[in-house]
Amino acid sequence: MDALRASAVGSVDADVGPRPSDLTLRLGRAGDLPAAAAVLIGPHAMALATVVATDETATPHRDLKVRYIFEPTAPGAPDRFVTLLISVDAARPEVPSLTTAVPAANWHEREMRDLFGIAPVGHPDPRSLVVHDGWPRGVFPLRKHFDGSRRVPVEPADEFPHLVAEGEGVFEIPVGPIHAGIIEPGHFRFTSVGETVLNLDARLFYTHRGLEKRMEGLSPLDAFYIAERICGVCSFAHGMGYCEALEQIAGVRAPPRAQLIRSIALELERLYNHVGDVGNICAGASFHYGTAIGARLKERLQQINERLTGNRFLRGLVIPGGVCLDLPDDLLAVLTATLQDTLAGFDSLIGRIEANPSVVDRLDDTGVLQHQAAVDLAVAGVAARASGVDRDARRDHPHGAFADPDPPDLRVATVSEGDAMARVTVRALEVRESIRLVGEFVRRLEPGLSRVALAEPLPGGRIGISAIESARGEAVHWLRTDAVGRVERYHLRSPSYHNWPAVALAAETAIVPDFPLVNKSFELCYSCTDR
């Protein structure tokens, strides 16, 4: 705190919040932001968790606000978010850019420029991110006076200026947005010399649906159904993260039985993703036996999801206040038996991958993400842990059953190589750990309430923040209610949002034919990045 005050020219006011363990620092002068961020990242070893802009021009504040939210990175550090809050003049919406010092801020700042018209002064990349060609200048969809239900005319536009290399023998390879397989849309512009990738410029946000705007003004209980559907394979994690943020606002806690059921489902989501991802990595390495086994094991897990919750993606289980389905003992017995079978099948698959030199050769040293790059970009989840970053939101921001006063033991799997093989290894260790954890959660289940009611209207003008370890890594949810308890602003920073720039870096250590393998070894979502 003293170091922060010493770094600032203007005033620094500290408040507790949003949660009792968190801190919000209001910087009187926006120009102090880079120095304050440097203090948090340097001496305090914190990382950027998310950036949230809000339009408060219609309130007595008559300004825009930007919150830069940081979190500790040291294993065993307390569960805390530190928010640097600055006020932005609506007549001259500019903030100093953090990107050159804090690379993880890059996309956050470009997104804020596209959606709020807040210019990050000194940002090295002037290109749009979220809105694509033909979006009219000076129209900012997340400003409050913009009617989100309105379609906006398409204006004539130049071709998007991709970052490419030039020279003799240098080729440009455009791929997407519509791909050859059943995958989500994105455009990848490779420049290559022969097989070697010189540069990869990935353009995303094709599936930007305006979901954050769509939720504004809704009852938080209705908006939940949108949060649960931002992403298919992160449905449970995102639904749960939204519920935890909303429960903070409402001042309630889901009962212990609900917390355990939520944690069981969160591990089931991790399981079907990790098992399916290992199968798809085999596809990238042309090991079709592994692809088929991975697909069969994943199918079995999605069928058990459906038996437990009525939905193969676990939708419809979590609900604000708890869970809306209980898990009876006979179903839990089926679950336990299925997971034991899955473990045997998965161990056999991993054994066959490791014993197959042609597969191992494709995976070893392919798509290397350096440890320092993973730290600088605040990479999350499997990709971070495979590059030696010891972060896991289940331990660092305890949620579900891990928030219990006597939490179950969690073994966070890390390896240091940072290549595709390392990402397979982390997934393999986590599959075994998830199956062990589900067993532990089932043992801890005791009869009791599975849900508490949330009374409407919800408290007005409150903020909730939560971080959930989804299959892809830490997702940060930020929710604020307006004066009458409706959704004023919701923002999701998905793990994929921080990880996509890392894919481009890793691809630049690979050859073009290995890109599908590199991409599958990260296995990121487009939809929860684009929202």
Partner: protein, 140 residues
């Protein structure tokens, strides 16, 4: 009997990826739709039709139209999932045109969030009948 076989191009028009993963599941050893003569192909030029997931986002609208136009006629359009069928939770807005039928002529709607693999197979088989009916006049 070539008409009994259907080669489809997947087109993600802005989906949350749940419907996409269910389409991928159709190729797994459990559903294995290739045994029914159904397959997913890499190019729209090779396709008899398109399976669309998601509402049509503003950022994909041009790509959606161009993919459809690249498919030889006669062609079938199958809208998979609540968003593709009606706009779903996304609806119409600054970033979305709504359901696929706002942009392309849809032949078969498969509801669900997401629809189960069995429902998607059923819908594709419905589309197969539709494609036959359209071809008859051409075959003369």
């Amino acid at each position: 009997m070539l008409g009994r076989s259907l080669h489809l191009r997947h087109l993600d028009a802005g989906s949350c990826n749940a419907c996409d993963w269910e389409l991928a599941a159709l190729l797994n050893p459990v559903y294995d739709v290739r045994r029914l003569g159904i397959d997913f192909v890499a190019s729209p030029r090779h396709a008899d039709g398109v399976v669309v997931t998601g509402p049509v986002t503003r950022n994909l609208e041009a790509a959606v139209r161009r993919t459809f136009e690249a498919i030889p006629d006669p062609r079938v359009v199958i809208a998979v999932g609540a968003c593709a069928a009606s706009g779903g939770i996304v609806g119409v807005g600054y970033a979305s045109a709504g359901g696929v039928d706002r942009v392309l002529p849809v032949d078969v709607y498969i509801p669900g969030c997401p629809p189960r693999p069995e429902a998607i197979i059923f819908g594709i088989l419905v589309a197969l009948g539709r494609l036959d009916a359209r071809r008859r006049p051409c075959q003369g």
